[in-house]
């Protein structure tokens, strides 16, 4: 979730009425943004990813002023044609779409410059998915000669002076030398050509998705006319971003002009798939969606009069009339009428909903297997064994003790960032670790744990077999096989079962002191005295006997 810092004065000027600090805080929270703080003239707030239009002062102020009722209804923006053209070359298959705009009549102030920079950056990280989906450029119009070309070129053949650099360099050097080149190089893996905006005099405006050029791409305080482009892999995503930037500039007093973006003709056969013909951008027209007013009552339980409904829509910047809602061009999040319902709930005020518990009869029940586990916990505690809880994830080394299954069945994670990068295949390594870290505490130490254990098994849809197991470890000077057998016996007697033990071999146990547990002729686990070699490598300097029981198997036997 992106966090933005907004200039409090700029926002307040847009509100149309004065709010006390308390009211301002409250309204910001209840509009649907996560307020962090208001101090030193700054509003720090987290914007949810569905509302990129709130990422700048003008967008935020616009929404808040509607919400508090001072500027209700939809904002409409006038666009006049500039007569200029941008030619999209079929070569830009790597980022096939661009949409552009011109805004005149500005005089960019320091505050506005800061706002634009933050908006551009936050939009690119969230809405543009860290520039993977779209990235944006803002240029002073004065130095540009139309028509522009959006074209992919071999970077070894192009030179320009990147933003922030005092000299010109080969475009191929940008990847290594420019900070943005290095930061976004991963997006361009496998590219031999890169998309550029080039003007009629062949000067480079920018190299995408990295940087503008210093000569034509540097906006400063006092700039009066701007050219904007939003380019990437998804046309709609580019359009929404452009609309958010352009409407913010229009709210600063700018006059918006459109351009013709000339794509390859629909009939053309191009690899890039951008043969959509000529489009005119920006398109700041409102869109519409049908809305059935009864949906509000169904979801929110509110019986609203038509006038109330119209007012609530207006407070969220929409127009509702006769079953149709007009949606402003900067809203990216309206997919379904339910999205209006949420906005109506916000406008109505979440604080104003009265809690209701419906009188419906449903039967509550714990999962029977979970209930069984709870009973086992009680039995273990009754036998004087204390419960511990270890992670399901463990390091490979930690798991090598008691490795019963073959290595190939041990489940390794693909991308764990810590050394806990395997799913445990047994409860026992965790219990030994617990004993090793508790050697300063009083003995006897008798512990158990219930949890999931994992192994690769292609019979399952996700390729992993998941079992629930009970592990018990008894640790003190005189811990021996008899004691663990007694405890397991007692446990099974309490479940109405008789167990039998059959000697087995297992390298982690003292020979002749490990046995498989059978109940009703089925193997349910094993018990044994841990081999001193294992104890030494686990760092436990006290005898340990253990038991490991498959609880699903035990449950099934108990419920046969």
């Amino acid at each position: 979730m992106p966090s933005v810092t907004l200039n409090q004065k700029v926002v307040e000027k847009l509100l149309g009425k004065k709010l006390s600090l308390e009211d301002l805080k409250d309204r910001i929270s209840m509009l649907g943004t996560d307020l962090d703080s208001i101090s030193d003239g700054q509003i720090k707030v987290e914007i949810f990813p569905n509302r990129p239009d709130l990422l700048c002062e003008h967008g935020f102020g616009r929404a808040l002023s509607s919400f508090i009722g001072s500027h209700k209804g939809i904002r409409l923006y006038k666009v006049v044609p500039s007569g200029h053209k941008v030619i999209v070359d079929p070569s830009v298959a790597m980022r096939p779409f661009t949409v552009c705009a011109i805004v005149r009549g500005l005089s960019i102030t320091e505050e506005q410059l800061a706002e634009l920079i933050q908006l551009q950056e936050k939009l690119a990280t969230t809405h543009g998915r860290n520039r993977a989906k779209s990235a944006y450029g803002i240029y002073p119009l004065a130095n540009i000669s139309f028509p522009l070309r959006y074209v992919a070129m071999d970077p070894t053949t192009v030179s320009f002076q990147p933003l922030g650099f005092g000299h010109s360099m080969k475009a191929s050097e940008v990847l290594e030398l420019h900070p943005k080149g290095r930061a976004y190089a991963h997006l361009t893996k496998g590219w031999t050509k890169y998309p550029f905006f080039v003007d009629a005099k062949d000067s480079v405006l920018c190299m995408l998705p990295f940087t503008n050029s210093e000569d034509t791409g540097k906006v400063s305080v006092g700039t009066k006319e701007l050219f904007l482009e939003s380019s990437g892999t998804d046309l709609r995503n580019c359009q929404v971003a452009l609309n958010i930037m352009v409407t913010a500039l229009a709210d600063m007093g700018g006059k918006v002009e459109s351009l013709e973006v000339v794509y390859p003709a629909k009939s053309a056969k191009v690899k890039s798939g951008n043969n959509i013909g000529t489009i005119v951008t920006p398109d700041l027209r409102a869109t519409t969606m049908k809305f059935d007013a009864t949906y509000v009552e169904k979801v929110l339980g509110l019986k609203l009069k038509n006038t109330e409904l119209v007012d609530l829509f207006a407070r969220m910047g929409f127009v509702y009339s006769k079953g149709v809602v007009s949606i402003p061009c900067y809203r990216a999040d309206i997919l379904h009428p339910v999205d209006f319902v949420e906005d109506i709930a916000i406008a109505y005020g979440y604080e104003n909903f009265k809690p209701v518990i419906p009188k419906i009869a449903t039967i509550g029940e714990q999962d029977p297997f979970e209930k069984f586990i709870s009973k086992l916990r009680v039995l273990c505690v009754g036998l004087g064994i204390t419960e511990v809880v270890n992670y399901h994830l463990a390091s490979r080394d930690g798991l090598s003790l008691f490795l019963e299954s073959e290595d190939s069945k041990l489940v390794a994670l693909k991308n764990a960032i810590s050394e806990h990068n395997h799913l445990r295949q047994s409860i026992l390594p965790g219990l030994l670790k617990t004993l090793s870290t508790n050697q300063h505490n009083e003995y006897p130490q008798e512990i158990f744990e219930v949890g999931r254990v994992f192994s690769f098994d292609s019979a399952f849809d996700c390729g992993v077999r998941e079992d629930t197991a009970l592990g018990v470890a008894l640790c003190h000077e005189k811990a021996d096989f008899t004691e663990i057998q007694q405890k397991v016996d007692a446990l099974c007697v309490a479940l109405g079962l008789q167990i039998r033990i059959k000697e087995m071999t297992h390298p982690s146990f003292i020979t002749g002191r490990v046995g498989a547990l059978f109940a009703e002729k089925k193997v349910i686990g094993f018990i044994g005295e841990v081999h001193p070699r294992v104890l030494t490598s686990a760092g436990v300097m006290m005898p340990v006997v253990v038991g490991h029981i498959d609880l699903r198997a035990l449950y099934d036997i108990c419920h046969m």
């Binding site: 997919l335 339910v338 979440y350 999962d367 979970e370 992670y391 991308n415 799913l423 390729g463």
Partner: protein, 504 residues
Amino acid sequence: MDLKAVISKLHPLERKVIPVLITNRELGAISIASGLDLTETMRALQWLENKEALTLESKMYKVVSLDSNGLIYLKAGVPEQRLFDVLSSEFQSLSVVAAKSKLSVEEVTASLGILMRERVCESRKEAELMLRKAPGAQTFVSTVSAFLAKPFPINITFLSSAELDIVEALKKRKSFIRVEEKKIVTVVLTALGEALTKEEINSDVVNRLTPAMLKSGSWQDKEFRAYDIEMGVPSISGARVHFTNQAIDYIKNIWVEMGFREMTGNYVQSAFWDLDALFVPQDHPAREMQDTFYLPGKARLSAPLFSVVKEVHETGGKTGSLGWRYPFSKAESEQILLRTHTTVLSAQTIAGLKKEQLPAKFFAVGKVFRNEALDWKHLFEFDQVEGIVIDPDATLAHLKGYLQEFYSKMGYSQIRMRPAHFPYTEPSLEIDVFHPIRKEWVELGGAGIFRPEVVRSLLGFDCTVLAWGQGMGRIISEYWKITDIRVMYTNDLAMIRKAKVYLK
């Protein structure tokens, strides 16, 4: 306090010590006189001190004792005496004298210095040093010999100033004496103590009732010692259920009380169930590699449901939604991961429901995983609580009703809903509770109504599905005052054995 009452509570050890206090006041001496070892004696004295019968004073004293050479000289005589005793009125050479006195040259040299200072010896330089008794010095009795005869070790405060001079002199000689700091415990009787020493104290009281006494009836003639039951005892602790599971059990009970059925399921899931089925777009920032643990391999998916979900993402399908409008990737769906939220269980439950089973209510408490490094406020696995209500007549007002009830059972009587955003709910809200101690609103969970894109795909028809959930971490760390959440998995047995039971 009544003297009789005090006597009745006396422990057998105390009973043995009291009589010897009349004549002994030092710990060692008391131990010898009472026949108890030092530890038993000390315990008895401390109990008596607790009863205010005496006060124990421990002081540090310097104690002089004989060192290795000192012990030899005690038997063989001090070197200067031995040297004098072999001198005669005639000059003898140093080596002769040394041989006669059985002293080393070093000892002879040291002793010679002393005898010269005492003017009882004369020397003459020839080829070898020659020695004889000084004329007129017929006898010499070393003060050191007398000093050595004293009963060591000796408290230095009991020495005269002349003896202290000797100590100073001997300290300079090799391994003669040792002067050490020692603790000496002495007893000062209070008035009660004085009174006790004058009483006849029966040392034959019964400490423990035995089966034999019961069988023989001998208990009838016995006097039972009264215990000092107000004194406190060493602590013990029984076995426990781990404290996190106590809180989880409590929460499960709340749900059952409210008529919810429990959902369970696998930790290892497909991206399809964990995310796609919940209408989380495949390029959603939360799906990026670093947040989620992925496993190798490809999951097998149910073909009919897969095509429904794919269509909903791409075009909205039959849900009335525009969809996310991007090419849906099967490979992305087939990825295997550790579940990132228990909402995956809600999705699977909804997918298995039929119209005639509604309304229905479910809950889950279970582990979820995030690919994070461990630190004091981040774990890579933790417990999440989740509830859903599938009810065609449910509304947002019901959601608030259920939440109010749930959180009041958790100990928070006031709740507040705030707008929020989750990809699979609309409306989405954050739940704040009013913290009764901190007196402020605290964010505790998320809630909402499942989007039609989710419900329609999984259930097959439209229906309101209320949903809410939260992590268990806050509840557990607050109750057990844990500041580092890794403590939940540290398994310090001392802490687990002593942790307060979940009393809510």
